[in-house]
Symmetry: C2
Subunit: 386 residues, 2 copies
């Protein structure tokens, strides 16, 4: 058994509308990069965990085809799903496999081809990720609708404005410009966001993350192996996870995700840190309001004050806690199975000082990933150190 | 971290066409029984793993609704899928969570409502569990077709007959008669099997497991906790898992599942036993030929000789290795997400001498579960002791 687990290799495909590749070819882009990054070959991998929501595309049980194409036959017994947090569920499986002593080197692959179905279908699938019977079927609640409800409530309780939320989108697009792998690479203004068409009021098109295809791969290793293989391991210092009710009607609040707060508290506790220690974060900005809520749920800001971090530039490069400097879900893209592992890719690059023009300046090298499934139906927070 | 993991509570719903319940209500039948069996309440559960193939029914992302209905909000961050071995993938997750030290008591829930779609759709879904692009789409290969191919090859190489295969079905139905939770409770003869309509030659209707709804739940605990809670823990002595190519065309043989052999070897090795030590087994008899192949893959019989165990009654109650004495997939039923955990339910009842009229006689109390996903796309073998 290994008491510590390290990230020793990361890969990330180009995100976007990837008509040029099948899901297995897409996964290989990430796997190949992660192996090269770790200096390993397929033979070194003990176990593979595949994270995919199997998003109603061509491959509905994608693990065997992904494993076969990548040369991982015999090593891929599990697919995991946790809606939009599927990539983090795969990371947690890899972490458990190593800490339990069952494996020393584990490859987690996250992949989804979401554009194989139309946008309307996609929204319906999203809506069914919540409570099908009571909310999707009766009220037609799709994912933008869920977050629109949170946004309205946040506006009513705390005075958050549509302009405030737009700041999150503008920041995401600004950083995606320098990320060649990002789905959406164009600069936008607050005005652009405000004038974009309404999806579910108050959320407009540019408040929403795109429907993306993409893959990410992360290689985890036990402490012993990591120290042999690499001079730059990124250690997982804390893992936190939680879940919440399927129906939003059952929740007592609509401006914060209880599951994310619990996941964060558990991760902080295990890592022995407080929110103020975090220097870099990836947060789950599936909608602009979600980034603001994330700041609050993670303890970066008080309840209702999340927007102040955006206004003051505290989550910019060089700010107190650099956040989503690769473009976030909003502009880098959000292929559900890949997102959580893509966050680890980004954090690893940052923690190794390999992030180029978006390199954040660290003092203590403490980072965090925050990945939410659905509207807090699942939540994962991991803390990393160098 | 716990070096040993025990089964401390088991539950199993009635399997069958369960129009009377939703997937969450179905899951509760198993969860409730497992809690009562362990003498625990929901508050004692640290973590829940939900195994479901989300079989194209009403709930396509079932974990949050199942968790909410069962009162497990905050504790259910992961759904796992490994096709027909999904229940065992959930068990492996629970095992890893405990051995890694992340949790002390883990509830694994396996559930699928497969009858919410028609049989034709169901077969198509099954076929897509293999290689969609090369085998399902081009050749229309559904699951019976895959196993029919194995059966034909076994017949050609080893002289296995349709009568031989029918013996497996007859045995399954015989034992399901005394299992009130079984899907199919009627006695059948070899002649009935041979005269039933052809599904995919040489497999006929009565060579095939039914399309079932059902749930199973298993509570796992660390050694320390198990010893406090129960006088009759069932210990997991060995875990083995493997996977194979998505396309059958890529495999070098069609009379044996390489993944199952690897899983078995790994489980035997970890448990420090040999096949002859196993006194009770649940094997994955999704089709009659699959039971014969299982005997061979597990080392209970030489290659090509599996049918001799059936002919000689060695896998009957009181035989050398009692097998599927609750009716097996063939007659107990095969709700994909539940099957692997239902096997653990059955083994636990047997190992505690609580199996009533089908109680097998043990000397050393060593048992094994063998759960295959697809046509060997995934395989799990676990070894148990008292």
């Amino acid at each position: 058994m290994s008491s510590k687990v390290a990230v020793i290799g990361v890969g990330n495909s180009k995100f976007g509308k990837r008509d040029d590749v099948s899901i297995r070819e897409l996964s290989w882009e990430a796997v190949q990069e992660s192996l090269n990054d770790a200096g390993l070959t397929l033979q070194d991998i003990d176990l593979t965990i595949i994270g995919s929501t199997a998003y109603r595309g061509v491959e509905i049980y994608p693990a065997p085809v992904v494993a076969e194409y990548n040369g991982l036959v015999g090593k891929a017994p599990i697919r995991v799903e946790a809606a939009c947090a599927t990539g983090s569920a795969a990371a947690l499986n890899a972490y458990m496999a190593i800490r339990s002593g069952l494996a020393k080197i584990v490859l987690a692959i996250g992949v989804d081809k979401m554009t194989e179905v139309g946008t309307a279908t996609s929204l319906a699938i999203g809506g069914r990720g919540g409570n099908y019977q009571y909310e999707f079927h009766l009220y037609g609640t799709t994912f933008p609708t869920y977050y629109a409800l949170y946004a309205r409530r946040h506006m009513a309780l705390y005075g958050t404005t549509e302009e405030d939320m737009a700041l999150a989108s503008v920041k995401a697009h600004k950083y995606a410009l320098s990320n060649e792998k990002a789905h959406l690479r164009k600069s936008i203004s607050v005005d652009d966001v405000l004038k974009s068409r309404v999806i579910s009021s108050p959320l407009k098109l540019l408040d929403c993350s795109p429907i993306s295809d993409g893959a990410a791969a992360v290689i985890f290793a036990s402490e012993e192996v990591a120290k042999k293989i690499t001079d730059a391991p990124v250690w997982i210092k804390g893992v936190g996870y939680s879940s919440d009710t399927s129906s939003l009607a059952s929740r007592g609040e609509w401006t914060s995700l209880r599951s994310a707060r619990e996941a964060a508290n558990n991760a902080y506790s295990m890592a022995g840190i407080v929110p103020a220690d975090v220097e870099y974060a990836t947060v789950h900005d599936c909608f602009s309001i979600a980034e603001i809520i994330a700041y609050e749920d993670l303890g970066f800001a008080e309840r209702g004050k999340g927007v102040s971090l955006l206004r003051e530039g505290q989550t910019e490069k060089g700010g107190k806690v650099g956040t989503n400097l690769f473009g976030g879900l909003k502009a880098k893209g959000h292929p559900l199975g890949a997102t959580g592992l893509s966050m680890i890719y980004e954090i690893t690059k940052q923690m190794r000082d390999e992030a180029g023009s978006v390199q954040h300046q660290f003092k203590k090298y403490i980072a965090l990933s925050h990945n939410v499934g659905g509207t807090g139906h699942y939540a994962y927070v991991f803390v990393y150190s160098r």
